[in-house]
Symmetry: C2
Subunit: 166 residues, 2 copies
DNA sequence: TTTTCCATGTAACTCGTTACATGATTTC
DNA sequence: GAAATCATGTAACGAGTTACATGGAAAA
């Protein structure tokens, strides 16, 4: 339901059409969320059919017609519920992408060092990108701050492993 | 491919049957990986049909027959490739479960505080569980250490948010 | 005697991604 | 004239989960 929450929350601020929503998410939340265009359209359809948002066609000049969505009253209630549920409950993060670590001593320390350095570089890069993102007003910034803190922690931890290998 | 890597890596240490593998993962890696029984059986079937592991039926007393798997030569090569690929590349973690944060100022500071405290408690609990896990020999411990570091960082960060709300 | 453990599997379903299709319009 | 942008969608696929089925043996 997290993606639904995201769309509803954004539509609550102001009415928008699908393309616009996806663009916004891609540009300003790319560090934290990855929502594909087709998924966005699909979810908007679904939310509309459930009555949580209303749909109205709009034409801007010669451009293709857009479907503009706005939050309905029942959408507002739903949003409030989702938001509270989301803030309250912690879903443990599983780092499947680190499973290789369990088998680190199956390869030589030297090669391990080389591989982990590559990984370190990628994390560092991600950190720079996240930090370079334009600051936001209000709580939108919180997610970006969290991402930064997380990446920082990942770097620190990985540096510890690397140090230990040397 | 991470789950495949996990199974291959474990089978490389010693031959095992499906039930055993799943049990091991559940008991000793529960903080880091969550692999359902059916997924395990499915993956083992697949890996066997691809020739990366071999299958042999075994009977222990009156118990139901087991399928014992062991790594083949081609499985070994595959494993080595997967392992290196996994260690080298970083897949950015997306914390969908924190999307609500973006909308934190849609609710009162007091209620936000209450909700986030609940979340804090859950994280803290997860940290205790992870720390309580019996220590492992070799690099298996690394993943658990990572999980601990991550949870610690989450706690710190959340405490910052909570402090700011007060 | 009922529940739990051992041991394996199948079928249906959910969620999300990929790849593709359309078509006008503005920019290079 | 080609490419990118605006705008929406569909169909097929993939990974993984849920729920269910089986059936004997050991433990409560």
């Amino acid at each position: 339901m997290e993606r639904e929450l995201l769309l509803l929350g954004l539509l609550r601020q102001e009415e928008r059409h699908g393309y616009e929503l996806h663009e916004f998410i891609e540009q300003t939340m790319q560090a934290c969320v990855d929502l594909k265009k087709s998924t966005a359209y699909y979810l908007l359809d679904k939310l509309a059919s459930q009555g949580y948002i209303s749909e109205s066609e709009e034409q801007a000049g010669n451009r293709p017609p857009r479907k503009v969505y706005r939050l309905t009253t029942s959408g507002e209630t739903f949003y409030q519920d989702l938001l509270r549920e989301n803030l309250r409950t912690y879903t443990p993060a599983r780092f499947v992408d680190l499973i290789g670590l369990s088998f680190l001593d199956d390869i030589s320390a030297n090669e391990a060092l080389a591989l982990l350095s590559e990984r370190r570089e990628a994390i560092h890069q991600a950190l720079l990108v996240t930090q370079a993102a334009p600051r936001h007003t209000g709580s939108h910034q919180l997610m970006i701050d969290h991402q930064t803190a997380h990446l920082q922690a990942e770097l620190n931890w990985l540096d510890g492993v690397i140090l230990h290998l040397k």
